[in-house]
Amino acid sequence: MPNEQDIYEEHVLDHYEDPYHRGELATATHADEGKNPLCGDVIHVMLRLGRDGKIEEAWFDGEGCVISQASASMLIEAIEGKTVEEAKEFTANQMLELFGPQLTPNRQKCCLLSWRVLQSALHAPLEDADDDDAGPSFGGPSLSEES
């Protein structure tokens, strides 16, 4: 059985303390926010999608435990520059692999929060985004609050 201290390996704490693209993205075309009601973790994902179907820029903001915030930083760094299709095909299991250390089911929820919000943000065009600049929009239901 893995020692739980491993959850907080250096790579994880590095992302927590020095996250990738944490802040506001003023030019976002798509965005969504999600919560983990049990912990109070909050993640806000902001994306700028290009006409060619690429995620030109990705940012996040939020509050919560090390796992929720570090995993968001890892995800945002990983999907920037990818196509929307690639991001949509990025599975929950791939997210857990990207994070690295093995997590108990309860902490997997923390790790998957940003992944869940990213998936719904891809379907959530901002109303005030200029239509000309907005990338392709996608139909379909948004994911529910709790998985």
């Binding site: 739980e4 907080y8 704490l13 020095d18 990738y20 912990c39 435990c65 090390v66």
Partner: protein
């Protein structure tokens, strides 16, 4: 005589195990659910092995023996809470089910649009949500008494709410599951009765730690859960004054709660079976009675005094750690619960780190979201003590909290930057 936790630990087989990290277990999550002594495990297993059958139904040996044990458990419970009669002791699935029973049955027949149900802001969700649901059904209103700066509630504030709102019901916890604050049950009940309100006392956190005397409290309803008093899950107690219970309509309908059923309708049976539809929690009641006898053999006063010592030690040491904030009053005003936050560290990370040290605490909002919101917190960590906890476990808690703060608080450790610093 002070209690010796080291000899008590021998009664609880689960305390011998280790956490997944290999560290010995320091179980400090007792406010969520306590552990069971061997006598409770044995009582349950003995029932299943020797005499289990459905109760109140069969004309055969096992059913008669099971019925006798189930009703003996009711008598043990009657003594445990100091009720006048066994008719006043209803076995419910737990605190939540007991409050829902009162909300549906008493609330549904006594409250209407505009009536007020008064709660404190320190309630857990079990004593909030059923009243919100009742409000949606009847149009009654739920009001909350705020907390004072010292995490207690002044009598004058309670008096003012009782006078200005004229509630039909005042429902409150005897002890807060987050703050640990002990509320003056008998005094508030007297004040509420003088203002014309019926009183429900949620003793989920009180019953495990202090002797209950429902007659001295004079509360109209008292509820608590089995699993927090070292008993099984799936059982709890609804105490109600006989005249009140007698006048209330049944809540759940089914077998066991009827006098007669026809194709046209039914007539309910008397107390307490009227509120025990279906096959009741038989082995759970028998296990609960064993737990109550066990706690009484140790002595609830000794348990309370022991927890107080642990709470005082933990509270004092935590307050001395930089960045730690205690959610709760000073130890003289609370039971064995210490909830806290560490500046810059999420409660889940504290709990996770403590687990690597074998220390089990709860992290989150502890089913008390309105309370956390009123305190401006999303989550806290909570250590809660019981009769088998030791001063050494308190020391391990403190040491692990210091480690967590040093590890996670921003600036607490030297870190290389992953990104070039913005100019």
């Amino acid at each position: 005589m002070p209690l010796d936790p080291h000899s008590i630990r021998a009664d609880f087989p689960i305390l011998k195990r280790q956490s997944s990290s290999g560290a010995p277990l320091a179980f400090l999550d007792n406010a969520a659910s306590a552990q069971r002594p061997q006598v409770v495990i044995d009582a349950i297993s003995d029932c299943y092995q020797r005499y289990y059958a459905n109760v109140h139904r069969g004309i055969h040996t096992l059913s008669e023996e099971s019925t006798a044990a189930y009703e003996a458990a009711r008598e043990t419970t009657r003594q445990f809470v100091g009720a006048r009669s066994q008719s006043e002791i209803v076995f419910a699935a737990g605190t939540t089910a007991a409050i829902n029973t009162v909300a549906h049955s008493w609330g549904g027949s006594h409250l209407s649009a505009g009536d007020v149900v008064l709660l404190t802001i320190a309630e857990h969700h079990a004593n909030i949500v059923p009243w919100h649901q009742l409000a949606a059904r009847t149009g009654c209103r739920v009001e909350f008494i705020p907390l004072g700066d010292d995490f207690t509630i002044d009598d004058a504030v309670v008096q003012d709410k009782l006078q200005t709102l004229q509630p039909k019901l005042f429902s409150f916890v005897s002890s807060s599951n987050v703050l640990g604050t002990n509320f003056p049950v008998a005094r508030w009940t007297r004040m509420a009765h003088a203002a014309g309100a019926t009183v429900l006392v949620d003793a989920a956190q009180g019953a495990p730690h202090q002797a209950i005397d429902v007659q001295q409290w004079d509360a109209d309803f008292v509820v608590f859960s089995g699993h927090k008093v070292c008993g099984p899950t799936g059982i709890g107690v609804l105490y109600g004054k006989e005249a009140l219970l007698d006048a209330m309509p049944p809540f759940l309908g089914g077998g066991g709660m009827i006098d007669r059923v026809t194709t046209e309708g039914f007539s309910p049976t008397g107390l307490p079976e009227k509120f025990e539809a279906g096959t009741p929690p038989i082995t759970e009641a028998i296990g609960l009675a064993a737990a109550m006898r066990y706690l009484q053999s140790v002595g609830l006063e000794a348990i309370e005094a022991h927890e107080h010592l642990l709470c005082q030690a933990a509270d004092t040491a935590l307050r001395n750690i930089e960045g730690v904030e205690i959610l709760g009053p000073t130890p003289d005003k609370k039971g064995g619960i210490v909830s806290f936050t560490v500046d810059g560290v999420h409660a889940h990370d504290i709990a996770q780190w403590l687990d690597t040290r074998g220390v089990a605490v709860r992290a989150g909002h502890h089913c008390a979201m309105p309370l956390h919101e009123s305190l401006g917190k999303t989550a806290s960590a909570r250590a809660s003590f019981y009769l088998y906890n030791t001063p050494e476990e308190v020391d391990r808690l403190i040491e692990a909290v210091k480690e967590a703060r040093d590890k996670f608080a921003r600036g607490g450790r030297r870190r290389r930057r992953r990104n070039p610093s913005p100019a």
